[in-house]
Amino acid sequence: MRTEWMRKLRELDQWKVRDLFFTGGVNEADPKWREASKVYASATKARLVIVTLTMLLFEGVALASPPAYFYKPSVERSTFDQEFGNCVELAGGAKATPHSLYTPNLYAAAIGGFFGGIMASRQRRAMVESVMRICMADRGYRRVIAPKGVLRELASKSDIDRAGRLFELATLPTPLGEVLPR
């Protein structure tokens, strides 16, 4: 069984809502179009979270915790999909505090906006990581430091294939790496 966000990603690809959106010519009163818009928004949010998680996993942002994956050897694939999907949805709700700067100096505003954007982006990534960590710990998962080879392998996969590989890693008889505290 696939999770809701996976289904939405597949529908997104099938319906090519993005193409519809940018090429125009759609009837916004059409119920099918309205449904497609909702799917697009939801799937985009899920994809943003996955991309953020990928960044956390691979880029080693300057946070206190190392890149890690979730481990629970007894879990079934359907349960993993559901629990991981639920946590991704909760992480999708995380919003960073906007940093705004008012100054009549255009250059100062640009510099302030640039660094403010960096800080807000880092804050959001940290929040997503915290939500995933707490949410998955609540469901009995442990974090395992991901070896570099695993990181490279995951980086080369698509979103859906990566979810499959994360399940394989979660259910290995022996975790590949150091098990972290909850």
């Binding site: 946070l63 206190a64 709700g93 915290s130 710990a137 609540d138 975790p175």
Partner: protein
């Protein structure tokens, strides 16, 4: 310019929802039979720098409980997510945010009274933390005062993790690195409730005694992360009182 100002004023007026719920500053007499009332006391947090000159003994109450109207059947906050089919009347907000307007204030505690629409409510969050993973829900019936008791919040540190002290070297490092400085991971809050006792603020005399009922919590309410921050269980996933409900020990 006048047109722009008028449009901005109109937009602001439209964006503000009518007050269907509010933190009161005084006890209404008599109680409105069409409304429900929620009474809750917060213990004030001691100021760690109270020994400094002119420093107050306790920190100001900057954060508190967020309550929300809950749809038990669909398992979400009314009008949102899974409960989108059960919306509130137009312009009514499902969330009762924290408002720093106590009706009684002592040196160690503050007592708040909320006037709300009768409904099923859930403890939605505290500060930047949403208790989406599992929270308490309770009934607020018309013409009654639900006493939530005394609430206290704490940061839900993971096992083996504690805040690092802010040394001079660390402060200089943070200042020099700016947005690129290594920051500690954000930590969610957890809260705990206990019934009103003799050492707490008594229920104000203005309330009819037969209308004040102690809360009956039901655990396990889940909902989406609508506060936009961190998530946790209301008692804390990492709390030292026990393992998380879903915890299993992985074999190594």
């Amino acid at each position: 310019m006048k047109i722009l100002m008028g449009a901005a004023t109109l937009a602001l007026a439209v964006s503000i929802s009518p007050a269907d719920a509010a933190a009161l500053k005084a006890i209404p007499t008599p109680l409105n039979p069409a409304k429900a009332y929620i009474l809750v006391e917060y213990k004030r947090v001691p100021n760690p720098y109270s020994g400094s000159p002119l420093a107050p003994k306790y920190l100001p109450q900057m954060a508190g409980l967020a309550l929300a109207r809950y749809d038990v059947e669909h398992g979400d906050i009314r009008g949102l997510g899974k409960a989108a089919v059960n919306p509130l009347p137009a312009k009514a907000s499902p969330t009762e945010p924290f408002q720093n307007r106590p009706i009684v204030k002592t040196e160690t505690s503050v007592l708040f009274l909320h006037e709300v629409e009768p409904d099923t409510y859930v403890v939605q969050g505290w500060a930047n933390t949403s208790f989406s993973l599992g929270s308490y829900r309770f009934e607020a019936k018309p013409g009654t005062v639900v006493d939530l008791g005394i609430v206290s919040a704490a940061t839900d540190w993971a096992v083996g993790e504690q805040p690092k002290p802010m040394t001079a070297g660390r402060l200089v490092g943070l200042a020099l690195a700016g947005p690129f400085a290594k920051m500690p991971a954000p930590v969610p809050y957890r809260v705990s409730f206990h019934p009103r006792g003799e050492s707490d603020i008594p229920v104000p005399a203005g309330f009819p005694r037969d209308r004040v009922v102690p809360v009956t919590f039901e655990n396990g309410a889940t909902f989406g992360n609508y506060l936009g921050g961190l998530v946790n269980r209301v008692e804390g996933v990492n709390a030292p009182h026990g393992e998380g409900p879903g915890e299993t020990s992985p074999s190594k």
